[in-house]
């Protein structure tokens, strides 16, 4: 059995052109409806990809093209990621208490005691 090991750099999509899920995705439950994809756009080199919305597409290539046409019409982006929505796992709203409340009173975790030079952006 051969395992392919690939070094991933920041910004790379695992799986290259087939980004957005395993190589053999299961057929959508209702094949008359295209699956939903989440779209992430990098607005400039050096910035992170940000979630901008979702769309329908039959496969990853179509999803990237649709994202180009729907979300980058006004020069919003220089790079697009898409991922099928079913691959996103989210925290549950009912667990919000134990998940997030404990951070509320721990001011010492904030790096507010350092002075940053003005030239440093995007921190």
């Amino acid at each position: 059995m051969a395992f392919q090991i690939r070094r991933l750099l920041y910004g790379d999509i695992p799986g290259g052109e087939t980004g957005g899920g395993p190589a053999n995705p299961q057929p959508a439950p209702d094949s008359s409806e295209w699956p939903l994809w989440e779209v992430f756009i990098r607005s400039r080199q050096g910035l992170d990809h940000k979630h901008v919305g979702s769309l329908h597409a039959a496969d990853a290539r179509m999803a990237v093209e649709n994202a180009r046409d729907v979300y980058t019409r006004r020069m919003e982006g220089v790079s697009i990621w898409v991922v099928e929505s079913r691959h996103i796992h989210a925290s549950q709203p009912e667990e919000a208490g134990p998940f997030y409340d404990p951070a509320a009173d721990k001011a010492y975790r904030h790096p507010t005691f350092y002075d940053l030079p003005k030239e440093i952006d995007h921190m």
Partner: protein
């Protein structure tokens, strides 16, 4: 008096109008899908593409209008010429048909248009060369997008395959016109302004055949009918179908009803 800019006109102007009319007429046909696309995302994609074509047409009309003078503007050229003054290809004025026909026509023309603009980058008309250079990234994307859809539909379900075959049969008789040079094209080619479209044919055929093979669609591209010997129509000479007359009637109605109207 309304300036009509009737031929005979200088070959260079006729050539610029030919290029502009191609972009405008195809852009208008595609824009008919706006709000009616099969999926929201494809509706937006095709509308974007239509606007790209409209943008190319505007630059070409403005350039032509500067040369023609006599009060010509991009608006008078687009809205006040009759069908017999239009120099666009018949292929581009045919009704939009179904999604398959619209996509296939866009693909076949994008392959041609890309080769044409690439050649026009070397035009001695520097403004035309600049317009071509600006259009190339747009057309490159149109080609990619339309090609994906041709393969997807041709090699898709039984119904999509049948529809693509039928679209191909409808469009095939009008492909010869792409490569038959009109007199004005011969003249601008001699002067280094334009290119003889017949020189693009072998590369176009190679690319289109590859795509259609991938799409599992069979067609004879080796013997294409020339305009005169097949249909009696010749878009480059202003001999158009009634479909163009109807298209222009709709597109021009506002300017013709309220001349000079602006908003």
């Amino acid at each position: 008096m309304i300036p009509r800019h009737l031929p005979p006109m200088e070959a260079r102007h006729e050539y610029l109008l030919h290029l502009a009319d191609n972009a405008l007429v195809l852009g208008h046909r595609n824009s008919e899908w706006c709000g009616h696309g099969p999926e929201l995302e494809q509706d937006i994609a095709l509308t974007n593409l239509s606007l790209d074509l409209l943008g190319q047409a505007r630059l070409l009309y403005q350039h032509a209008a500067n040369g023609i003078g006599e009060g010509a503007t991009e608006d008078t050229l687009a809205f006040l010429r009759d069908a017999s003054d239009y120099r666009n290809l018949i292929l581009l004025e045919l009704p939009r048909g179904d999604w398959g026909l619209t996509i296939l026509r866009q693909y076949l023309f994008s392959e041609f248009s890309l080769l044409q603009y690439q050649a026009l980058q070397g035009s001695t008309d520097t403004q035309l060369a600049a317009i071509a250079a600006k259009a190339i990234p747009e057309v490159t994307y149109h080609r990619r997008w339309a090609r994906d859809w041709v393969v997807r539909l041709g090699d898709g379900t039984e119904e999509s395959h049948t529809r693509m075959e039928s679209a191909l049969a409808t469009l095939q008789p009008h492909l010869g016109e792409l490569f038959s040079p009109a007199d004005f094209e011969r003249t601008v080619t001699e002067r280094g302004i334009g290119i003889d479209p017949s020189t693009l044919r072998s590369e176009w055929t190679l690319r289109v055949r590859q795509t259609l093979d991938e799409a599992d669609l069979a067609v004879d591209l080796s013997s294409l009918a020339t305009p005169s010997n097949h249909t009696g129509m010749d878009g480059k000479l202003g001999r158009h179908t009634e479909d163009l007359v109807r298209l222009l009637a709709e597109m021009q109605t506002l300017q013709r009803t309220y001349p000079g109207n602006e908003w």
